[in-house]
Subunit: 263 residues, 2 copies
Amino acid sequence: MKFLHLGDLHLGKTLSDFDLIEDQRYILDQILRIADKESIDGVFIAGDVYDKSIPSEAATRLLDYFLIELAKKEIKVFMVSGNHDSDDRLNYGSALFASNQIFISAVFDGTLHKQSFADGDTEIAIYMLPFVKASQVRHYFPDEDIRNYDDAVRAIIKNTVINRKHKNILVAHQFVAGREEDPALAGSESVGTQSVGLVEKIGYDCFDDFDYVALGHIHSPQKVGRDEIRYSGSPLKYSLSEANNEKTVPLINVSAEESVQIE
Amino acid sequence: MKFLHLGDLHLGKTLSDFDLIEDQRYILDQILRIADKESIDGVFIAGDVYDKSIPSEAATRLLDYFLIELAKKEIKVFMVSGNHDSDDRLNYGSALFASNQIFISAVFDGTLHKQSFADGDTEIAIYMLPFVKASQVRHYFPDEDIRNYDDAVRAIIKNTVINRKHKNILVAHQFVAGREEDPALAGSESVGTQSVGLVEKIGYDCFDDFDYVALGHIHSPQKVGRDEIRYSGSPLKYSLSEANNEKTVPLINVSAEESVQIE
């Protein structure tokens, strides 16, 4: 199966008074063309789908359009919430969308939900982690000591049965750091020393069980810690410092072979 | 086929500072029980689904819940927008919901859309008219003289091919008046002399082609002009003047027999 990894669409974003919705529609149309050309089976949307917790009407119309176009092409969608999204608003319709192979995980309910697909002899398991804070996770795991984001995500993964014989993919929206380095920021995130947009760092090694981790939150495309833990970056440049970065969309090939191929 | 006629749910409504969401959930659960007991095939929701154009998270969660429960029971849904709803927000997901037999018409696009079902030898055609103003309709019918709501709705119906051999049902959210009388208001509508909530009156005789007209807008259950043109009323009482009215939900039986049965 072949996947496209997207994140940080920030639909409905404005820069000063400039409405980006037409640019965003243009980019989504380009992504739909890539999906056709590359015969994509599924799209990961790793959070910050909307720019605001109450999205504009134009933003909801654009997401609706994008999801319908993907459904028409019979491309599966795996979408999680980000820190900019309202869990409940992004969650609306998700149970009904599943019959169109559109899977949304916007509200954490104590379980890291997965969707599994047979691809020849390989089973591909796609886990979807909505954006979570420590406070949202703590009461589901009363026996774990959850003090920060890192503890929270580790507790969730520890309490999930992951079969290493399968190809395991995680879609998540978090601030993930490498061993001694922070991800390179794009400039359009709001930044503190141990956090981006008040989202605290978590260590990449908590993702050891996953063959690919499709991350959102950082707007610059990059690997974190190892090749298969990636930020796709935002498809549009949202700050001047991003102006010189070429934007590309990671294509992920998952097959029976040993490792996940990334183009 | 047997239908339930609902309207004016006003999900997310508050009275002064009092949040009605739990009462609304209770009422929707009662409606789900009626649907089971009466072996209902479909539910009409005749607009003002939400109380505000930007519905609260709790309101979107409640509508989501209601639609999922109806889908689980394999009950069809025919929902139109009202003057309180945002067309675009209510429309979100509608194309994808259709595979679950949830049909939403929230944005008028120049066509009065219908869904048809065979019921034995009878064809039942359910037309869904989203809430429209004259200004929204005018440019679709440049040859018609559309000055007010009445002209607008008549122009739409005139330009729709309606087969009188079928059982034709219309779901709409408008202020419909009888020959020399206005509908009896419930008290929770905002009222002018020729309008309710800035929605102008239209004459009931424009609905002559329909066997049943499931109306929303007026909160008191009542017939307008003839037995088969009805306001279901709002399922909850939203004003003191409504306190003494018993709330019931119209049950509509459509069969091959001559006329539509209403309980």
